[in-house]
């Protein structure tokens, strides 16, 4: 079974600081998103069970070290990597990313199962999987917490808002995973060394027969919220604090209604 895992790298959010309400990303290292690690783990486990190949597919999207960062996916057990690195991918919106991924999947040729995280760690729009599935004309299963494949079909247990569903779709299909699906492995030194010799292809948009996709949305602003809160702290003994606190909440009308 040929599995393609779509892997996004994004700035390490733990290291993003806010200055004058603006997120500071200069110099912040990128890493593979958390849910993409879950998707990679699921892919490697599935390949080990049913045979086949795992390809990690990544759009550089302005990450100059994407080729370096994607080696982590190879160390986790992916067999090959493919990167689309083109200046025109730096500020693509989700429709543009899906267009590029669909073209790259077609160029890869064989793909039975396309795996995604249910959203990226940074912006978490969850759009790329559904758009890509539509472009490729394949069914999609979102929020999988278990993935099995047999007899030309994929069967998933998916975690919805208030229920669990077991669903099945014929391959090829696109599946997104949630964090509870597995605990992603942390590759050891041996696997990191071996990853260096695994095949990696790098494509430009022209290699995929694409021109830069036209944007379909515009970001008007992207700022940290200004908090408008009262900031009242109560002093004294625990009993005094509790008394003043409860009195304040009664006055606000949220207690003693």
């Amino acid at each position: 079974m040929d599995i393609v895992v779509c892997v996004k790298t994004n700035p390490d959010l733990q290291m993003v600081r806010i200055k004058d309400r603006v997120a500071q990303t200069d110099g912040v290292p990128y890493k593979i998103g958390d849910l993409e690690r879950n998707a990679l783990e699921a892919a490697v486990v599935l390949r080990d069970a049913v045979g086949g190949k795992v390809v990690a597919l990544c759009l550089a999207e302005g990450n100059r070290k994407a080729a370096e960062d994607i080696k982590y996916a190879l160390a986790m057990g992916a067999d090959e990597a493919a990167i689309v690195d083109d200046p025109a991918t730096v500020s693509l919106d989700q429709a543009g990313v899906a267009t590029v991924i669909a073209a790259a999947v077609r160029k890869l040729g064989a793909c039975d199962l396309l795996l995604f995280g249910e959203g990226s760690s940074d912006n978490y729009t969850g759009q790329v999987a559904g758009r890509t599935a539509e472009l490729l004309g394949v069914p999609q299963i979102g929020y999988a917490r278990k993935v099995e494949a047999a007899d030309g079909a994929v069967r998933c247990e998916r975690s919805m808002d208030d229920m669990l569903e077991t669903v099945e779709a014929p391959l090829p299909a696109a599946v997104t995973v949630v964090s509870e699906i597995n605990e992603p492995r942390i590759p050891g030194l041996m696997h990191i060394m071996k990853a260096k010799n695994k095949p990696m292809q790098t494509w430009s948009l022209a290699d995929l027969g694409l021109e830069a996709p036209a944007p379909v949305r515009e970001i008007v602003s992207n700022l940290a919220e200004e908090q408008d809160r009262k900031h009242i702290l109560f002093e004294g003994t625990a009993a005094e604090q509790a008394d003043a606190f409860v009195n304040a909440l009664i006055k606000e009308g949220v207690l003693g209604r």
């Binding site: 603006v22 997120a23 729009t125 949305r217 908090q227």
Partner: protein, 315 residues
């Protein structure tokens, strides 16, 4: 007049979208229509038609059973096409968030998901959503002729909608789903509904061990509140996943959120930022939750919470 068209498989969310849609549509000179899809859609349609939608399109096509993304997206695209919809609002539940991008792709439309605020500026709908893991709010506009927005439940209030006698229109659609539902069951756990809770006590890592959470339960009971938690407590399996508040759980909008032993990491606080009042109990006065709190007690929760429980007895 161009149509603003709303859909959610959850009737409460659909009613909110109708109410919010009416406001947006009146600023933009549009009319509001809705879709009700799947088994028993007829009943939902009648409700939406009386809640302010001028027209409600209904299909009980069997392919819509279980609301698979491929069939629902196809249904909405066909209806939007027939109706000449210029704006589509979909409820950003898990099913809705899965469906909206596929719908947008079918319509050649831009899309914004997880929208939690809407504004009209220069005749354009500007949608707000969290970005950078919740650290910022991105305000986005869609630049295609047809625009799709997946709007979070509770972004709009269904209250105050002007009841109207809308028209229910049965539509015939060409649908197929390749996704087959084998089994469906309710999630285990105690099924707390944090979305609807007016008062929430959030518990976090300030509790030393699992048994100590009884203190949080007792406080919540004394207030008539529901207990929610940070993701780490669910990761420890101290509480079920349906208690998680934040980026990977519920986005709540209670009248009061009281965080006890909750430091206030952004991944959690995006789920409480919508609270009318935020309060915090923490022994660390530098805890980020205090910076976004209306009321706070700096103190050891093991002393403060029993004092609160005692005080609440006389409320």
């Amino acid at each position: 007049m161009a149509e603003l068209f709303v859909y959610s498989e959850k009737i409460d969310t659909a009613r909110e979208l109708v109410a919010g849609g009416v406001q947006i549509a009146s600023s933009l000179g549009m009319t509001v229509s809705a879709a009700a899809l799947g088994p028993n859609a007829g009943a939902a349609a009648a409700e939406l038609a009386s809640a302010g939608a001028a027209k409600v399109y209904v299909s009980e096509d069997p392919a819509l059973d279980g609301w698979p993304a491929d069939a629902v997206a196809a249904a909405l695209a066909q209806i939007a096409g027939q109706a000449g919809a210029a704006i589509v609002l979909v409820g950003s539940t898990r099913r809705g968030k899965e469906t909206a991008p596929r719908l947008a792709q079918k319509l050649g439309a831009g899309c914004v998901t997880d929208v939690n605020s809407c504004a009209i500026e220069d005749g354009e709908l500007i949608a707000g959503r969290y970005a950078f893991g919740g650290a910022t709010v991105a305000r986005e506009k869609v630049t295609t002729p047809v625009k799709v927005f997946a709007v979070m439940p509770k972004t709009f209030s269904a209250e105050g909608a002007t009841p109207d006698a809308g028209k229910v229109v049965n539509v015939s659609l060409t649908l197929e789903s390749k996704v087959k539902v084998i089994d469906r069951r309710a999630k285990e756990g105690d099924h707390v509904n944090l979305d609807a809770a007016p008062l929430i006590v959030g518990v976090g890592r300030g509790f030393d061990k699992r048994e100590d959470l009884a203190l949080g339960d007792e406080l919540a009971a004394a207030m008539g509140a529901v207990v929610g938690c940070t993701k780490s407590l669910a990761d420890f399996e101290w509480l079920g996943e349906d208690r998680i508040i934040g980026l990977s759980g519920a986005k709540t909008a209670p009248d009061l959120y009281l965080g006890v032993g909750v430091s206030g990491q952004i991944q959690h606080t995006v789920g409480v930022a919508g609270a009318k009042l935020i309060a915090a109990v923490n022994k660390d006065k530098e805890a980020p939750l205090f910076a976004m709190a209306d009321y706070g007690i700096v103190g050891d929760l093991y002393e403060v919470v029993p004092a609160l429980i005692e005080r609440l007895k006389s409320v």
